[in-house]
Amino acid sequence: MSAADTKHKAHIEVTGLTMAYGDTLIQRDLTFTVNRGDIFIVMGGSGCGKSTLLKHLIGLLQPAAGEICYNGVSYFDASARQQDDMRRSWGTTFQTGGLFSAMTLAENVALPLQQNTQLSKAEIADLVHYKLALVGLAGFQNYYPSQISGGMQKRAGLARAIALDPEVLFFDEPSAGLDPLSSKLLDELIVQIQQTTGATIVVVTHELASIFAIGNNSVFLDPESKTMLDCGHPQRLKTDSPHHQVRNFLARGKLSRGQLAHDQTDNSHREKTP
C-alpha cells in the first residue's frame, strides 16, 4: 500500500460505542471515524464523559457495547500481544498528569524509552533533555512531580507521552491550568508534532481558541441526551450544525459577552434599590 493510500485511511473507527460505569449509563451509540493525521477534538460540557471516552479509546475501560477499531483491528478482540503492540504505539496524557510520583521528571520521560528501545544511557539522557525542552521544562530533570506546579506536571506528562514519537497521541485537557501564553505554545507544539511525525492526535478540550486553532475534526458529546450530537470540522459545526447546543457551545465567545453585559445591568440595578 502506498503512502498516499494510507494518508486518508480511517485510523480509529468507533461504531455503536456505549459506555457505562456499572449500571450508570454515560454515553450511548457513539459512531465516528478519526482519519490518519487528524487532530481530532472531543468536546462537550463538564461531566458528559469525555475523559471516559478517552479511557475507552486507550483500552483502559471495556465498552458496554459496540467496538473500537485501530487500522481495522478491533482492540478488544485482539490477542494480548497485539494489544501490547497497539498500546506501545500510543502516547497518553491524563487529566491529572499521571506522572510516577516516585520518579524524577527525567526518569518519568526515560521510562518508555528504556522499556521499548535499545538506546544507550547517554542517548536516552539526550532524548529526555530534548523532550523536556520541547515542553519548556529544560533544567527540571531532577525534580520530583510533587516539587513542580500543576501546569508543569501537565507539560511533563506531555513530554512522557511523546517520548516514543507515537502514532496516536491522546491528550486529556492538555491546556487546562496553563496560562494563555503557555497554552498557545502548547497548541503550536501539538500542530508541530502532528506535522513532523504525521501522528494522529485526539484531544479532549474545552478551550474554544484551541478547538479552532488546531482541530480539523471533532465530536460533540451531549450530557442531556447521553449521546453524540454531531461530528466533523469545528468550523463547519459552528455555522452549519443542525443542533443549537453545538452552535451555542462553539459560539460561546460572543454569546457570553452579551450575557455578561446583561448581568451587569442587573447588578447595578440591585445596587440602586436599597
Partner: protein, 370 residues
C-alpha cells in the same frame, strides 16, 4: 423588627407573600421555608405573588427561601409571580433555576439483596483468583529473566523492608524471647529442670515465634505501606499510565515489592531468632544459668530441620503479606478514603492469612514428623 418576617395575604385563590425585616445570614431568629410552606398549604392557591418590603435588608438567606418557594409553587402547580421582586433577586432566582434539579439516576439499593451480595462476592473471588494468576505469570517471567522489573526499585524496596525494620524487630524479639523464658521457668522450676528453659526458648523462637512475630511486624509496616503506595498511585492515574506505556503493572509494580519481601524475610527471621535466644539468656542469667551453658544447651536443642521449617514459614508469610498488601492497593478505589480502607484491608487480611497458613503448616509439619 429584628427578625426575618413574612406575611401572607390571600384573596380568593391568589395570594401575596411579603417579606420584611432583616433577611440576612447574620440576623437573629429562625424562619425556615417549611414554616411558610405550612401556611401556603392551608389555602387553595392558584397564583402567588412574592414581594419584598422596601426597607427589607436581604442576602442569600432570602434568596434560598425564594428558591424553595419557587420550587414549591412549581410542584403544586401554583403560578409563581416574582415580577415585583428587586432586579437582583430576580436574576439570582433565574440563575438558580436555569439548570433543572437533576433526578437521582442511581437510587440506593433498598435493604439487603442476597442475589446481589452473592454475585458481588463471586466477582471479588474471581478478581482475587485473576490477581493470583497474574502474580504467578509475572513470577514465571521473572524466573526466565523476561520480566519488566527495574532493579533499582527492587534495591529500594529491599532497603525499606530490611534495614529500616531492624530497630523494632530487635526490641520485640528480645522481649518475646524473655516472655517465653519466664513462661517456661514457672513450670520447669517445679521440676528442678531450669536449664531446659534454653531448649524451650530456642525451639519456640525458631519454629514459631520468630517467623510469626516478624511477619506481623512486616504486615503492619510493609504490607500496609504497599497498599497505601499502590492505592495512591491508583488515585493519581499512575497505574493507568503504566498500562498505557505497554508495561504490565503486575511486573513493574507488584513484582519488585513481592520479591523484596520474600528475599528479606528469611534474613529478618534469622536475626529475630538470634535475638530471641539472647533475650532468653538474659532471663537465664537471673536463674543462675551461665551464658555459655545457655548457648550450648540451645545449640543442642536445635537442628537444621527445625531452623529450615521456620525459614519455610518465613517465605510463605512474606508472599502472603505481599499479596495481601498489593492486592488491596491494586483494587483500591479512586479517592483518599479508599486508600485508607485499602491499608486497613491489607493489614487485616494479611494477619488472617498468617494465622491460617501457620496453622496449616504446623499440621503439615506434624504429619511429616518434623
Amino acid at each position: 423588627m429584628s427578625e426575618p418576617q413574612f406575611e401572607l395575604k390571600v384573596e380568593g385563590n391568589s395570594g401575596e407573600l411579603l417579606f420584611n425585616g432583616p433577611w440576612q445570614l447574620a440576623s437573629k431568629g429562625t424562619a425556615p421555608f417549611s414554616v411558610i410552606a405550612k401556611q401556603l398549604a392551608r389555602h387553595d392557591l392558584q397564583q402567588l405573588r412574592v414581594t419584598i418590603a422596601d426597607d427589607c435588608q436581604w442576602d442569600s438567606r432570602l434568596s434560598a427561601v425564594l428558591l424553595s418557594c419557587h420550587n414549591y409553587c412549581t410542584e403544586q402547580n401554583i403560578a409563581f409571580d416574582g415580577s415585583k421582586l428587586p432586579q437582583g433577586a430576580q436574576s439570582l432566582l433565574k440563575l438558580a433555576t436555569a439548570v433543572p434539579t437533576r433526578q437521582q439516576s442511581k437510587p440506593q439499593q433498598p435493604g439487603f439483596n442476597p442475589w446481589r451480595a452473592l454475585t458481588s462476592g463471586m466477582q471479588k473471588m474471581l478478581g482475587f483468583l485473576g490477581f493470583l494468576g497474574e502474580c504467578a505469570e509475572a513470577t514465571g517471567k521473572l524466573l526466565v529473566g523476561r520480566a519488566n522489573m527495574r532493579f533499582t526499585d527492587l534495591g529500594q524496596f529491599l532497603f525499606l523492608a530490611g534495614p529500616q525494620a531492624l530497630g523494632i524487630i530487635t526490641l520485640l524479639s528480645i522481649l518475646v524471647g524473655m516472655i517465653l523464658a519466664y513462661l517456661g521457668a514457672v513450670q520447669l522450676r517445679l521440676l528442678g529442670a531450669e536449664v531446659y528453659v534454653a531448649d524451650l526458648v530456642a525451639i519456640g523462637m525458631v519454629r514459631e515465634m520468630g517467623a510469626l512475630m516478624t511477619a506481623i511486624i512486616m504486615a503492619g509496616r510493609t504490607g500496609a505501606a504497599y497498599a497505601a503506595q499502590l492505592g495512591t498511585m491508583q488515585v493519581n492515574d499512575e497505574i493507568d499510565a503504566v498500562r498505557t506505556l505497554g508495561i504490565s503493572p503486575m511486573e513493574f509494580l507488584v513484582l519488585p515489592r513481592m520479591v523484596a519481601l520474600i528475599l528479606i524475610m528469611p534474613l529478618l527471621v534469622i536475626y529475630a531468632n538470634i535475638l530471641g535466644i539472647i533475650g532468653g539468656a538474659i532471663v537465664g542469667l537471673g536463674m543462675d544459668i551461665s551464658f555459655l551453658q545457655y548457648v550450648e544447651q540451645s545449640r543442642q536443642a536445635l537442628d537444621m530441620t527445625q531452623v529450615l521449617s521456620g525459614l519455610v514459614k518465613a517465605v510463605v508469610f512474606a508472599a502472603l503479606i505481599a499479596i495481601a498488601g498489593c492486592r488491596a492497593g491494586m483494587s483500591c478505589g479512586r479517592d483518599s478514603a479508599a486508600v485508607g480502607q485499602a491499608t486497613t484491608k491489607a493489614v487485616v487480611t494479611a494477619i488472617v492469612y498468617l494465622v491460617i497458613s501457620d496453622a496449616l503448616l504446623n499440621i503439615l509439619y506434624s504429619e511429616m514428623g518434623i
